[in-house]
Symmetry: C2
Subunit: 412 residues, 2 copies
């Protein structure tokens, strides 16, 4: 196997976690350099790598200097949201393949630049959307590909994750999220739920988004959270700008409706709410529940009873899982978000080694990331629908509808 050298750009929580749990476990992958504007964070990550028995990587605080000094095969771009694209662009210009972590786009120009530089240089690029490799998302997509849901007409998802502590203690922890929650108002983190939906609906690959509208509730969750916390007393009267709930509605060329929700500053349980609705059945991720006409799910008029009777019944459809999830190694399940982090990196490394097209390319990435700045614009204009740019310049009509994995097609 071809040996691959990696650098890690961004040594915060995500970069550190991925290095610790994924990158250092990949065969024939060496981490030779790490970079963070906060030098102590970069040194900590170098320490961690050394402690695991590997050679100590070189440490940098400027990514361009790192790329010029240590030209690796690939970079893990796990920087702050606003640095994702500049770092990716700098790497691609030097022929360094980019594994870019997820987040939203700050502007249309950012999306256009990502595409311009990738297509001009031909450098391999992948958006590392781990949820595209989630067991539940892939099961539902496989059932859709097998025609079990009939014609798909609607999908829903959410990033529902109580991040109040992470945001409120952002200054203390030098985390970038608080800046966005203090100055902006939009769907700031769309790809975890939208990526799998977009792939299921063949967005940029035979289908495209037409219009987007977004709506925000008032912002009260963080305000309430900081009250009575002595170490956050300086935020007691601070006016956070980010609405607690943001709803985004997207209409598609092929007639489907998509709804996603950002939900990060109120108390709640974690959920992605991946939901697929077709003319013959549905998938509901909250209950991990499949209902297909004639397939014997139990229904009561009382909704909670229906859910109780069918929760996790998706397990009955295990035959439809893609190979990566059938007979999955239990060790993989420990490697970040229940295994997804592992699979998304395996896909990147495999495509890079084999010179295959990246499973999630710049057209996918920009289509998903643009939701952020478009949603801000729509909210600012009172929910006015905005046209979604076609970053493929019409190529969506002919791009092949490829999935991130191969699905078994049963009952041919």
């Amino acid at each position: 196997m071809k040996e691959l050298s990696f650098s890690v750009c961004g040594c915060g929580c995500r970069g550190t976690w991925l290095t610790d749990n994924v990158l250092t476990s990949l065969e024939d992958v060496t981490i030779v350099a790490v970079c963070d504007p906060y030098e102590d964070k970069a040194q900590d990550l170098a320490d961690l790598i050394e402690k695991k028995g590997f050679a100590r990587p070189q440490v940098f605080t400027e990514h361009e200097v790192m790329f010029d000094t240590v030209p690796t095969d690939a970079v893990l771009d796990a920087t702050s949201w606003e640095a994702h694209v500049p770092v990716a662009v700098a790497a691609m210009r030097r022929g360094i393949a980019v594994a870019m972590e997820v987040g939203g786009a700050q502007s249309e120009e950012e999306c256009r630049e990502l595409i311009r530089v990738q297509t001009e240089t031909g450098t391999p690029f992948m958006l590392m959307e781990n949820c595209c490799y989630g067991k539940e998302e892939l099961l539902a997509t496989s059932l859709a590909r097998n025609g079990k849901f009939g014609e798909i007409v609607y999908c829903q998802g959410a990033y529902a994750h109580d991040l109040r502590a992470e945001v409120a203690y952002g200054e203390k922890n030098r985390h970038y999220r608080i800046k966005h929650y203090s100055t902006r108002n939009g769907e700031n983190y769309p790809t975890h739920e939208f990526g799998p939906i977009a792939r299921l609906l063949h967005i940029t690959r035979g289908n495209r988004m037409l219009k987007l509208s977004a709506f925000a509730s008032k912002a009260r969750g963080l305000h309430e959270y900081v009250q009575g916390r002595e170490d956050l007393a300086h935020l007691k009267d601070f006016a956070f700008t980010q609405g607690d709930i943001v709803e985004t509605l997207i209409t598609c060329e092929n007639g489907e409706l998509i709804r996603i929700r950002l939900d990060t500053t109120l108390p709640r349980y974690y959920s992605r709410e991946f939901t697929v609705r077709g003319t013959r059945g549905l998938y509901n991720q909250d209950a991990n529940m499949v209902m297909i006409e004639g397939d014997g799910a139990t229904e009561y008029f009382n909704t909670a009873e229906t859910i109780k009777a069918n929760i996790n019944n998706a397990d009955r459809y295990d035959d439809y899982l893609p190979a990566i999830w059938r007979d999955v190694d239990p060790e993989v399940l420990e490697k970040g978000h229940g295994g997804m982090d592992w699979f998304v990196f395996m896909a990147f490394v495999d495509a890079l080694r084999e010179g295959k097209p990246m499973p999630i390319d710049v057209y996918d990435a920009t289509a998903w990331m643009c939701i952020t700045y478009l949603s801000e614009l729509s909210i600012k204009n009172g929910g006015t629908p905005v046209d979604v740019p076609d970053f493929t310049d019409g190529a969506w009509r002919d791009r092949a509808p490829v999935d991130v994995v191969e699905f078994p097609i049963l009952n041919r």
Copy 2:
């Protein structure tokens, strides 16, 4: 107790069901006349009343003739959606109190006329929104009134009910729904979920809606449903107009965001999805689940596990139920939609006898019903937000925030 005479206008499924299960069980209520444009339906209802041991009511096919011939104390207006207001107006003009079944408004003028005639005549009027008396909706509202959720920022609901058979066989069964699904596209049935949300958020009573936007998926569910059904062969190539899923987003004066979904033509389980989100907790009707900070609900990163661990945990909060639901008579639970139909009629009859204000009045009714024609307009204009009329003419600022029942306030 004062004896009350009722007429029943509209002898279809709903009118017949309510007569059989509720009206004929109410003490000191007599049904003296029934009316339906299809005479056989009216005769069938008269038969049913007679068979139950009551005097046979007079039978009519025109409501104005009935009102002029048999001027009852009250009428149950269980007609088709488009006849609700004309029948209510005709009754109110004659001083006949109106118990009007739910549905959407066809136009702004319809809403204005309802208000005009009610305020001019002073005739008692109530919208019979049974879900305002639902156990789950009232428990969540009580918890909100007790401050358990903190500040409320978001509510969600749905009318998620697979009505494909009812719609597709509408011609055969002389049911009016098919006409709407064949010619219109909007949130055609908003009040079951929106009524309880509006009351919780004090809409028309200290709060009001500002803007509404609506979005529809393509319409494929009914088309798929009629394929291969011989008795529906005439609809094989029919182009239904009503989108399978309609999402409606509403912003409020006090900063809350509301989302409702119409979901009636795809296979699914029944659900109203009443959801309340506040700065300190949430209610989720699908799982009948309460999560309040510090109140010991169990959370896992896996969503289905979280739901499994907490489903129906709302039962722990039974002390917050209003009197009608504490120690509820088991017989009542059999009286339509788990008891709601009974309670909404008890409320109407009680207010009528005692001369008290109706719990759900014309301002509530029009605020909730207008969603239908506003959503059609927004969908027609590609999701453009529409201003929601203030039918109270500014009185929303001073209308007292009264609930449909009294809630126990604990831990004062």
